[in-house]
Amino acid sequence: MLTKRIIPCLDIKNGRTVKGVNFVDLRDAGDPVELAKQYADVGADELVFLDISATLEGRATTLEMVEHVAEQVNIPFTVGGGISSIEHVNDLLQCGADKVSINSSAVKRPELINELSNKFGSQCIVVAIDAKQIEEQWKVHLAGGSIPTDIDLFEWAKEVEERGAGEILFTSMNHDGTKNGFANKALAKLSSALNIPIIASGGAGDIQHFVDTFKKGKADAALAASVFHFGEIPISELKKELKNNNIEVRL
């Protein structure tokens, strides 16, 4: 049976890990390659690198980082953050990224999804959607959640699928950073309405939250950052507990 995936997310700036990382046995917590290898060793199923570099030089460094990760890490990884052109996607894939994730650029120019999936195949195109629930309505937000739009989450997700995305990474801004659990109601609605895999993001605080997002949220994968980086939830323990709850995972 296809297993549910556990995905640590690493924020990258100028080729270095930025968020505080407190991981066992790391010589250099800022080195994304070393961190990625550790995560692969403890059973992470995939990795996501989110590039928050603001400059062209920073992005060029990230490209080098992607190549180093591909060289040394034997599990799949996705790169996202500030991607808006076919050339940029081509560069990332050529450096060895398995998938790329686009977000604001897809909202601004939805044809980009078609262009990318036609050229590179939908299997490597992830569309990330940040949304916030405002008075029962889920509205898509741009630029890391800072700019609200009038676009409905579910309509946009459907359009993203129809345009050829291979997967959706849905972050609930109401839940992100709260450690109170994932947005399972919205996730379940997305997962039932769509035919492509959905990654749940935002709100992971304890192991039960992961159980819930797979059972109640019907998510195909769950992404988190700080609970993994600070060792609050060891991945091996998380996966054992998921298995105990009859959720298929790779052990």
Partner: protein
């Protein structure tokens, strides 16, 4: 050991090259018939859409060359599918090495199948040291139907052939280069065939 990865413009071959590098083998990317024919082992990769990949093979004449190869050839993902008789993706005729057809997964499932699933009923030297129900990483929307050449099976809605072998031709639907240590073991096994 001269290992060549057939370079016909299809998808991410860097990952495969890196995986062999981790095993201590330098794989050469090539589209030259001479270089491919002179290799000890050949990788036939493929990511993307079947009909456009087939078109690229056709334009380079590699579609004629590949079936004549006598050394061990390993098709990966779309590479495996293109070695079959046909695929529903873009109604494409394949190279016809494996006597089976490639169909699309049912829409009752999430398509593509994306993630880690198990391979079982293993029967080939390719899987030496690999336990039954080992996890492999897969991303695909189309699957090969079972045939006599099936050497591994996987369940996703349906039970299908996740690996095939005919004489010197091997095909795997999963990505050994992205399937952790077990995947690397399969690549090592291929080098030792």
């Amino acid at each position: 050991m001269k290992l060549v990865i057939i370079n016909y413009g299809a998808g991410n071959i860097k990952s495969i090259q890196f995986a062999f590098k981790r095993l201590g083998v330098d794989a050469v990317l090539s589209d030259s018939p001479e270089e491919i024919m002179a290799a000890d082992k050949i990788i036939f990769p493929g990511v993307g859409e079947a009909s456009s990949a087939m078109k690229m093979l056709d334009e380079s004449g590699l579609d004629k060359l590949i079936p004549t190869l006598k050394q061990p050839v390993l098709g990966i993902c779309l590479g495996m599918q293109l070695l079959c008789k046909s695929t529903e993706e873009g109604n494409t005729k394949g190279l016809g090495i494996f006597q089976t057809d490639v169909k699309r997964f049912s829409n009752d499932l999430k398509v593509p199948q994306m993630g880690w699933n198990v391979i079982k009923d293993l029967k080939s030297d390719l899987f030496s040291g690999i336990k039954e129900n080992e996890y492999m990483y897969l991303i695909h929307s189309y699957y090969a139907e079972h045939c006599e050449e099936t050497i591994a099976a996987t369940d996703y809605g349906i039970n299908y052939a996740s690996a095939l072998q005919h004489k010197n031709f091997y095909g795997v639907q999963f990505h050994p280069e992205k399937s952790s240590l077990a995947g690397e073991r399969i690549l090592q096994n291929f080098l030792e065939i």
